[in-house]
């Protein structure tokens, strides 16, 4: 057991994976200097510049080369720096990495871990703040993970690197400094949710940094005597429908909250799935609390308009309960 930041936990996962398997390597811009958020600090010293590969500013080539290198028997960890820049490499991820195994009839797998730091981080504005996890859930062939805690960042990143198919691994930029206990050799199964806080009165589903907002809301609600159950999905594809369904069967109430834009966001998938398959469990209308469909501003109060606050969650739960 160690107390680690979310950043350090990810770095430890990579270091351990690289020690155990010489075919694991990392590629991305400025990795030799530790990466833009320090999440690779010290790794070049241990593993050398061939395996901690500092690349040109060539997102298409970073992703595309990783696809080829995966086909050639290595396990690349791709650093996209900001999830927003991964939009320069969508063909490579969606048309190539995600489809190669299938199109070629299973002749090759493409073991790829694509790290995409996402989310709002004070005043980074419209091109450095997006949360586009929903996009990747829509693409057959991809696994999508969005951890909320240091331990999950450690355990799920290790699981992602071990996985034989492309994984979009979305760390939240606002969590890098968050500290938490990380059990030695902690493991996590991709597709299993974590009950962040148990409760029988209302189910709140979330993932990534928004889990912590939901937890704040749950704490406030507890003061009122309302026991919210907060479910941290941890991975969005596959996602743990069973855990959510079981909770809603108990509470009769479902709120999904996420940082991404609500329209076309993954909250719609969760709500629609529960409404379709567990309709009878819903004693109240389900609810999404997510960002309005506007770009993200630079000025703080404008930026805050796309944030869902604990207060809003509390108010919504009170309305349902």
């Amino acid at each position: 057991m160690a107390r680690l930041s979310y950043r350090e936990a990810g770095r430890l996962a990579i270091a351990e994976a690289m020690r155990a398997d010489p075919t694991v390597w990392c590629l991305g811009e400025d990795l030799g200097r530790g990466g833009v958020f320090g999440q690779y600090a010290g790794l070049e010293a241990e593993f050398g510049p061939d395996r901690i590969c500092s690349t040109p500013i060539s997102e298409s080539a970073i992703m595309g080369a990783a696809v080829g290198a995966a086909m050639a028997g290595t396990r690349p960890i791709v650093e996209m720096r900001f999830a927003d820049f991964a939009l320069c490499a969508v063909d490579e991820l969606v048309n190539q990495a995600a489809k190669a195994r299938y199109m070629f009839g299973g002749q090759s797998k493409v073991p790829l871990t694509v790290r995409e730091p996402m989310g709002m981080w004070r005043s980074s504005a419209a091109q450095h703040s997006q949360s586009l996890e929903a996009w990747y859930t829509h693409i057959p062939g991809l696994v999508v993970i969005a951890p909320a805690t240091p331990e999950d960042n450690y355990a799920l990143l290790k699981a992602a690197i071990r996985n034989d198919d492309p994984v979009v691994f979305m760390e939240h930029k606002n969590l890098w400094d968050m500290e938490g206990d990380v059990a030695d050799d902690a493991t996590a199964e991709i597709g299993k949710a974590r009950i962040a806080c148990a409760g029988g009165d209302c189910t709140i589903v979330s993932w990534s940094a928004q889990v912590h907002v939901a937890m704040q809301a749950a704490a406030e609600l507890a003061d009122d005597g309302i026991d919210a159950e907060v479910i941290d999905l941890r991975s969005l594809w596959p996602w743990d429908e069973a855990a959510v369904a079981a909770s809603v069967a108990k509470t009769g109430r479902l709120i999904v909250t996420h940082e991404a834009v609500g329209v076309g966001g993954f909250g719609g998938e969760v709500v629609a799935t529960i409404a379709e398959r567990h309709f009878a469990s819903l004693r109240r209308p389900p609810l999404r609390l997510a960002a309005p469909r506007i770009p993200i501003s630079y000025a703080p109060e404008l930026e805050n308009q796309v944030r869902v606050t604990a207060r809003q969650i509390v108010a919504a739960v009170r309305r349902l309960n």
Binding site: T23, W25, D50, R51, C53, T55, P56, S58, S60, A61, M63, G64, A65, A66, V67, G68, A69, A70, M71, A72, G73, T74, P76, D91, E92, N95, Q96, A100, R101, Y102, M103, F104, G105, G106, Q107, S108, P140, G141, L142, V143, N163, D164, D165, I190, G191, W237, P238
Partner: protein
Amino acid sequence: MLRIRAFETAAIRAADEKLVLGAIHPSVGQEAVAAGVCAPLRRDDLLLSTHRGHGHTLAKGADAAAMMRELFGRDGGNCGGKGGSMHIADFSVGMLGANGVVGANINIAAGAAHGVKLRGGDQVVVCIFGDGAMNRGPFLEGLNWAASFKLPVLFVCEDNGWAATTSTRAVTGGPGPAARAEALGIATAAVDGNDVLAVEEAAQALVESLRSGGGPRLLHARTYRLLGHTSVDKAAYRPAGQAEARWADDPIRRATDLLLGAGVAQNVLDADAAAATAEMTAAFEDAKAAPWPPVSAAYDDVQDIGAVAAPAGL
């Protein structure tokens, strides 16, 4: 070359008869590039190809019958009928795939070479792409990547003058692919892509320099697409007489003349051609008779974690 020509002749017939299902892009007239470039390659060398990839795939050693089955969408196709012509691949002979996205194979090839280098292998990677692909970003990013990391990859620009219905020259600034590669730090060679011996010789030298760690190279092979962009394209947009004139330069005809000149008997050549035709006719008949893939295969090989189940009863 004869086998490639015979394969595509059979495939075009099959497309006309609606036995081939999706679009196919014949490489008739370009066979010398495929044959010459692949001649010096080992089986474990790697190859990345394009939408116009039948010839490259055959030349790398893939089984013609399995390829024909793939074009017919049948069981036993290289990709189990899931890919078709534009995604033909045979990893067992190092052929890592055609690609439906122009230029996408360039970065993948650079990465395959990166993987080879990291693993300490001595394979080379060959990446063939068209003249149209040199106007896509991956040309710059992939070649710069290969140059920066000194990777063992041979880029081959198979320059047939056309990008679908557009003359590539009309939308291409500067002198062409070789100048672009040189500006990215990659040494180049140019060759008459319809002269199979010249292509082979050039490729041989480049592959050797790659194998000895010389870093990436580009080969500019000038050729001509004798047919349309796809098998249904009549290519009426070409200047009158252009294609007709270029048939005189048909690489197979040139190779035949060469061999005849070198004293090979006509009947030996005829026998080769007949054997190729017979092989591909048999592949055609085999594919036509082959069963469809099991429908449940649609659910296979999506992904290990997070795969959806096939519906009950499939």
